[in-house]
Assembly symmetry: C2
Homo-oligomer: 113 residues x 2
């Protein structure tokens, strides 16, 4: 289990620095299934999970929603038949904070429950 999975989200406010490029590259090694993408100049983490039907996809989305509420940090979740595409970024800083890598690792950990 990675160090990220064990971590919790810190409070993230406007003005808190984003992760640097080298920090991001280092953290990505702990979540190798995720992609670093850029949408409207905002860096985000993205991963698609596959499931055998819509109900299973929704079950996963609900599990993730529960973790998100507990941590006070919320993803984008695109639920479709047999798949959920998750994106993480920090709205307040318009980019990636350590929290987003923590949440990506926690999202992966749900699969192994």
């Amino acid at each position: 289990m990675s160090a990220l999975t064990q971590a919790s989200c810190e409070v993230c406010r406007i003005g808190v620095p984003k992760v640097t490029e080298s920090e991001a590259q280092e953290l990505m090694k702990q979540i190798p299934e995720w992609s670093l993408i850029e949408v409207d100049d905002i860096q985000q983490l993205k991963r698609q999970y596959k499931f055998k039907n819509f109900v299973k996809a929704m079950e996963f989305a609900n599990q993730l929603a529960e973790v998100a509420e507990a941590e006070g940090h919320h993803p984008g979740m695109l639920v479709e038949w047999g798949k959920v595409t998750v994106t993480w970024w920090s709205h307040s800083i318009k980019g990636l904070h350590n929290n987003d890598f923590v949440m990506a690792a926690k999202t992966d950990a749900l699969l192994n429950q």
Copy 2:
């Protein structure tokens, strides 16, 4: 309550004709809050619903998931903090079938429950 809300989805298979442009324009009048968009050459119906937080957005997504399962026709649902963006189209015909307009109307009807 519109006629669409009362309808059920018909079985939609490969080869079934898409709605024509004029049929689409006529059906759009019954779901005025929806937009007709095109993604990768596939026509889709799209609407964003706003909620007061993430939990309320998930509640709506779960209600919609139940209707989708009952009808055997499934949307794309992008759940974010305080909003759900719903898209409807028919994968089997790579476009819009009457079913999609029926489901868009049923999605709207959830708000009035």
